[in-house]
């Protein structure tokens, strides 16, 4: 049995204790090296112990989890965020294809996350995701947010501005990029709808999410049609028309 070394960073003792308890009870392969009650301690512990896995609370006094990550030199660990409630944080985490747990932590979710961490460990790609997260967080004006798109054996970081539109194909999604690239992802369009910032991306149809900055022309009709910057014509469903018109500023 492979053991994974882990560090927990959380400012609330009850959180730390409860997580520790759950790991002990359900994930024997996790060996907790140390628990830290604030970010400063966390940095020290990670740089010192270079753990396989870090459970990191997002919201902490003085220095939060994200800032702590920026300050790390060593990033080759699997990262699982823990958070009580923070929609914004969760979205950022998902965009970078990082894992997270919501408090109070459900045991089965915890086991699953640990299991994933064990597999990803071999891929050594975690640093990129953390970098992407940091990148997105630093880019306060959302200009160059990147989306981590997992594929069979790698992770691709795509600047959201380059996404022209996304098309649902049963349980998969095709992402059309500028210029003339297409990524085929085994995620549903609905997942992306949650992930992508609604200020830029609009669901115009049960099969399409488009980047409104790539709309070149709108053709009137029952729902109408949009011509995207790559020349593709997409239908706007009748139900979505009003929403769409509002979004593009009519």
């Amino acid at each position: 049995m492979t053991t994974l070394t882990a560090i927990i960073v959380d400012d609330e003792s009850s959180s730390r204790n409860s997580l520790l308890q759950k790991l002990n009870d359900n994930c024997p392969e996790i060996h907790i090296l140390v628990t830290c009650e604030n970010a400063e301690e966390g940095i020290d512990a990670i740089e010192t112990h270079k753990p396989d896995l870090v459970f990191l609370d997002v919201e902490m006094p003085r220095m939060n989890g994200f800032v702590m990550l920026q300050k790390l030199i060593y990033k080759s660990f699997e990262l699982i965020f823990t958070t009580a409630y923070d929609h914004y944080a969760i979205q950022a985490i998902r965009c970078s294809a990082l894992d997270y747990l919501v408090k109070p932590i459900e045991v089965s979710t915890l086991v699953e996350a640990v299991e994933k961490a064990k597999q990803k460990k071999r891929l050594h790609s975690n640093g990129d995701r953390i970098d992407n997260l940091i990148h997105n967080l630093l880019d306060e004006r959302n200009q160059h947010h990147r989306l981590a798109i997992p594929s069979q054996d790698s992770l691709q970081f795509v600047e959201m501005a380059n996404i022209i539109y996304l098309e649902a194909e049963s349980n998969y999604t095709s992402i059309y990029l500028n210029p003339e690239a297409r990524i085929f992802v085994s995620k549903t369009l609905k997942e992306y709808e949650e992930l992508l910032p609604p200020s830029i991306f609009i669901r115009i149809h049960h099969s399409y999410i488009i980047n409104k900055n790539h709309v070149q022309k709108y053709l009137r009709g029952e729902g109408g049609q949009v011509i995207m910057s790559n020349g593709k014509t997409l239908d706007v469903s009748r139900r979505k028309k009003e929403e769409f018109m509002k979004a593009i500023g009519y």
Binding site: S13, S14, S15, A84
Partner: protein
């Protein structure tokens, strides 16, 4: 000498006999047309042009189509029968009887009764005075007043002188403007002559008299004079109660008398035993012809040359002839020159002057008139005789003035009497082509007929004959073939018809036209046939294109050297180019598109005349203009009869025929310029089924103004055409609801129902063929009800708007204030709830409980869970109301603090101090109003602080009317906390304090500064915490 003259005159009068019957065409208006009574006493025309008839059953207005009746006249002086009618020039009709009269106002349509005395008001009565003179007035006898101009002696008015304006019609007085003599009868027996200038008065009663007229008068010695008239030649006509008419010529100073007895005797009438009333009326018309209306002898016209009367009688046998039972009572000439005769059998109208056409037709049982049988053709012999060929009636022969000479009927064979056409041989012999190929030849010198039947006619009826320039004759046969008579050989030939494909029977055959080059043109049905007239052979046929193929060719003649003009059955004319065989249609075609053109004749000026249907047309040389010729009223017996051909008499007159009449006219005299058409008059108005006097209405205003509820209108109109032979129609429209013209001919009225309020213009005009009258307009304004007028509506709208504006404005202001407040409150409350329910806090609390469970601290977990539940309950309950009792709120705050403390492992110390007056008093506060400050103190102030001693103090005290909260922490201070926040790029936006601020403001109604935050420092200016002070206005439950 004078006796001799008189005797001569007596002799002359015996010639008074020539008949005019049949010369004029009369129109009859009788009771079946709407006349109230067949005895017409008076006829007049008002200034607008309406005709007025006075009958024994009332007064009537006539517009040429319909009557308007005024029987009320019978109620004025009941029992009186008014005898005389005339229109004065002051807008009245005057009706006289004896010395009484009625005035009828043409505008108000009211009758007023008068006596002759009314004409001379304030005249002092002079009983017993026969002759009385005063100023410019003179009373000649008990009834007769005369008013004259003092300087000139002209008579202005006289009682009994009912129609001074109509100078040349019979009445009881006459005025000779040359001498200034005024003639009147004295006691119906004596003639008196009075001169207003010389004041001389002569009377036949004072015998002997020095006046020449009275001298002559006395010589005649016949009493019973009725009326007199002075004509334009200064001849005074005296009409007696007997059948005598006396005439004294003031210029020649001679008397003549006419006896109608002679004429009556000639007419075979035995009704003269009662000679009284024989002559009713005399008129000299504007053409200076003198007409006499008589009893039993009819209408007489003075033949000015022979100085004898010509007679027109009533005859049932004459179509459109004069009709009366016994008497013609009066004669009136209207402004169009029509003569109106009032008889005992209605009215007769005719125009003896507007008539270029002499109509000659059969008179029933009159052997000396035109044969009754269908008239086929007319020809004039070289010696002047006119031959009229009939179908089945042989040939009638007349002199050149259409006086009957004889009828030639051929015995034995009926077909001999079925004449179709005539032609004159160069030697003067007249041929009559008949049925079955017979030809009668008439020798005009010997006046004898011979009959021939050449075999070349193949026993076929000879329909038409044509002579070429060499005198050869071509015969068009019913079988569609052509026979030829050579002048040189004096024998007949048949045309070589081998190539002709036509052998139809029966066929419509046209005439044959031989052009200058010897090409012959004839037609069978729709096809034009071309012949070589010299070689007597058929050459070719030119059938019309499809568009014309159903129309038979009726007539062919030359249009110009290269072109023929072809008349069609039912489709006007076309032009045929003999060289190119091209067909074209001239401009005039549109006017005669559906007409049958039977004959086309070019006059010496180059104009083409067309016999088209029942009308005669004249076209200019290039066929670009066409005008219809007015044949006169009722010229044709039937509209279905067509004009067949045109024949030119030796004196240049033309003759055309229909089956029942011969129409002779001089085309050179006919004026085709359309006379200016009169305006159409609005003759009546019916509003809501009620007839309105349009004259009085339009005399006040030139527009018709009606209220909205009187908007069913019927408008009658008339062109006042009494004798127009044209089929004229009216076109009308109501501008405002229609732009298209409506057409009507039978009903001279337009109906409009339910007109909406607005302005309209009714327009009407009369259309006479190609010309039309000016448009008559009647503006109609339907006024809206007062509550629907623009002004009222505007006023209402304005007032409403003003009131509404005032209220709305006031309301808007209050609503806006309220809404602003309400929205702020609701928003704030919502936000407050959210702030209180900070999910982070909730989930963290839950996480803490989870931990207690994980670490088996059962008791603690239960306690913690209970407190959490209590807090959530408090929050949920409080969220329903805006205010809660102070103590309750403080309880919730304590719970919150306890939970936070538990979460942070009791690292935070807190204390709460509450003024017991508040705690126990009846104070209300917004729920969890200071919770956000407490949360801030913990999270930003205390938790960011390293090390221990995290203290939080909360106090509440009464300060005047306010509850004052103080929250003091010894945390890092606001500045430090902000720095941490910035470093974390925290996206978590804290609305807590902002919302609280708003809530407090709302609660305090923005009355004072209610939140105060103080940063605390030690003596070294290090931050040692924050103090927040909140003031709330006290509010008790009862307020």
């Amino acid at each position: 000498m004078r006796y001799a003259l008189l005797a001569l005159n007596f002799l002359l009068s015996y010639t008074l006999s020539a008949q005019l019957n049949g010369k004029y065409t009369f129109r009859h208006i009788g009771t079946s047309d709407g006349l109230l009574n067949s005895t017409v006493r008076g006829i007049a025309q008002d200034e607008e042009g309406y005709m007025w008839f006075l009958t024994e059953s009332g007064l009537q207005r006539y517009d040429g189509h319909s009557f308007v009746n005024y029987p009320e006249i019978l109620d004025v002086n009941p029992g009186e029968i008014w005898w005389v009618l005339y229109a004065d020039q002051k807008g009245s009709l005057i009706m006289w009887k004896g010395d009484k009269f009625i005035r009828f106002d043409l505008k108000s349509h009211r009758f007023t009764a008068h006596t002759a005395e009314d004409l001379f008001p304030n005249e002092p009565p002079a009983p017993g005075v026969e002759y009385f003179e005063d100023g410019n007035r003179c009373r000649l006898d008990s009834r007769l007043w005369v008013k004259y101009e003092k300087n000139t002696g002209n008579i202005i008015a006289s009682a009994l002188n009912y129609n001074l304006d109509l100078k040349h019609a019979t009445c009881w007085q006459a005025f000779d403007s040359t001498t200034g003599d005024f003639y009147s009868f004295e006691k119906l027996v004596y003639l008196q002559i009075w001169n207003p200038v010389t004041k001389q008065r002569f009377s036949s009663a004072l015998d002997p008299s020095t006046h020449p007229v009275i001298k002559e008068w006395n010589k005649v010695k016949i009493h019973g004079y009725d009326k007199m008239m002075i004509d334009s030649k200064r001849r005074i006509w005296f009409i007696s109660y007997t059948h005598h008419v006396y005439r004294y010529d003031l210029n020649k100073e001679e008397m003549k008398y006419f006896s109608l007895k002679v004429l009556a005797d000639k007419l075979g009438k035995d009704t003269l035993q009662d000679a009284r009333g024989l002559i009713h009326f005399m008129l000299e018309d504007r053409q200076k012809n003198i007409w006499l209306a008589t009893e039993n002898v009819g209408l007489l016209l003075l033949d000015q040359e022979k100085d004898e009367f010509l007679c027109i009688n009533s005859s049932e046998k004459i179509i459109h002839g004069l009709r009366y039972n016994y008497a013609i009572r009066n004669i009136f000439q209207d402004r169009d020159g029509n003569l109106w005769l009032g008889t005992d059998r209605g009215i007769n109208v005719f125009n003896p002057y507007d008539n270029y056409f002499q109509i000659i037709r059969n008179i029933e049982d009159e052997k000396k008139s035109v044969p009754k049988f269908d008239i086929m053709d007319v020809i004039q012999a070289s010696q002047g005789e006119i031959l009229v060929g009939t179908w089945d009636g042989g040939i009638g022969i007349y002199d050149s003035e259409w006086n009957y000479i004889r009828t030639v009927v051929f015995p034995d064979i009926p077909q001999h009497n079925q004449v179709w056409c005539f032609i004159e041989q160069d030697d003067g012999t007249i041929w009559a082509g008949c049925n079955w190929g017979y030809i009668h030849k008439y020798n005009p010198a010997l006046r004898t007929f011979t009959t021939d039947r050449p075999p070349e006619t193949m026993n076929s009826t000879i329909l038409r004959m044509t002579k070429d320039k060499n005198g050869n004759i071509y015969l068009v046969l019913r079988n569609g073939k052509i026979a030829y008579w050579s002048k040189k050989d004096n024998r007949f030939y048949a045309f070589n018809e081998q190539k002709s494909a036509y052998n139809k029977h029966p066929a419509f055959v046209s005439n044959i036209f031989i052009d200058q080059s010897g090409r012959g043109w004839s037609a069978l049905d729709q096809c034009l046939l071309e012949y070589d007239a010299k070689q007597l052979t058929y050459i070719n046929s030119h059938c019309a294109p499809d568009s014309l193929s159903k129309y038979d060719i009726r007539y062919i003649t030359q249009f110009n050297d290269s072109t023929l003009i072809i008349g069609l059955r039912g489709n006007g004319v076309y032009l045929f180019n003999k060289n190119s065989y091209q067909i074209s249609r001239p401009e005039i075609q549109t006017h005669i598109a559906y007409t049958t053109v039977n004959t086309i004749k070019q006059d010496s000026e180059g104009n083409f005349w067309l016999c088209a249907g029942n009308a005669l047309y004249k076209c200019n040389q290039d066929l670009s203009e066409i005008s219809k010729i007015n044949l006169g009223y009722n010229a044709l017996t039937s509209d279905f009869y067509e004009l067949a051909s045109i024949y030119e008499l030796s004196d240049g007159r033309w003759v055309t025929t229909t089956p029942s009449e011969i129409i002779c006219f001089d085309h050179r005299l006919i004026q085709t310029e359309e006379s200016e058409k009169k305006d159409v008059l609005i003759s009546g108005l019916t509003i809501m089924k009620e007839a309105i006097n349009v004259d009085s209405l339009l005399s006040v205003s030139d527009q018709l103004m009606l209220p909205y509820d009187r908007n069913f209108i019927s408008i009658n109109f008339t062109a006042l055409e009494y004798l127009n032979a044209f089929d004229f129609t009216y076109s009308y429209r109501l501008k405002g609801i229609e732009d298209e013209w409506n057409s009507t001919s039978t009903r001279q009225a337009a109906d409009y129902t339910d007109l909406k309020p607005g302005e309209y213009i009714f327009e009407v005009k009369a259309i006479y063929g190609s010309s039309e009258s000016p448009i008559t307009s009647l503006p109609i304004i339907i006024t809206p009800p007062w509550w629907d007028t623009f002004w009222f509506k505007s006023l209402c709208a304005l007032a409403l708007a003003a009131i509404a504006y005032y209220f709305v404005r006031r309301r808007i202001q209050t609503i806006r204030k309220e809404a602003e407040l309400k929205q702020k409150i609701s928003e704030t409350e919502m936000m407050a709830l959210r702030a209180q329910m900070n999910p982070h806090f909730i989930f963290n609390c839950l996480n803490s409980i989870d931990n207690l469970i994980q670490s088996n601290q059962k008791e603690k977990a239960t306690t913690y869970l209970a407190k959490f539940a209590k807090l959530i309950r408090a929050i949920l309950e409080n969220s329903k109301t805006n205010v809660v009792p102070f103590w309750k709120d403080m309880e919730a705050l304590s719970l919150y603090l306890e939970l936070e403390q538990l979460r942070w492992d009791n690292k935070i110390n807190y204390s709460i101090e509450v003024d017991p007056r508040i705690q126990n008093g009846d104070y209300k506060v917004p729920p969890l109003i200071i919770q956000p400050f407490v949360e801030n103190a913990i999270h930003h102030g205390l938790l960011n602080k390293k090390g221990s001693e995290k203290n939080l103090t909360i106090s509440a005290e009464l300060q005047g009317d306010n509850i004052k909260y103080t929250i003091t922490d010894n945390g890092v201070g606001r500045q430090q906390a902000a720095e941490f926040k910035r470093a974390n790029r925290s996206s978590h936006k804290s609305f807590g304090t902002k919302i609280t601020q708003d809530r407090v403001d709302i609660f305090n109604k923005g009355e004072n500064q209610s939140i105060h935050i103080v940063d605390l420092y030690d003596e070294h200016q290090n931050a040692i915490g924050t103090k927040v002070e909140v003031w709330l206005t006290t509010q008790s439950e009862t307020t």
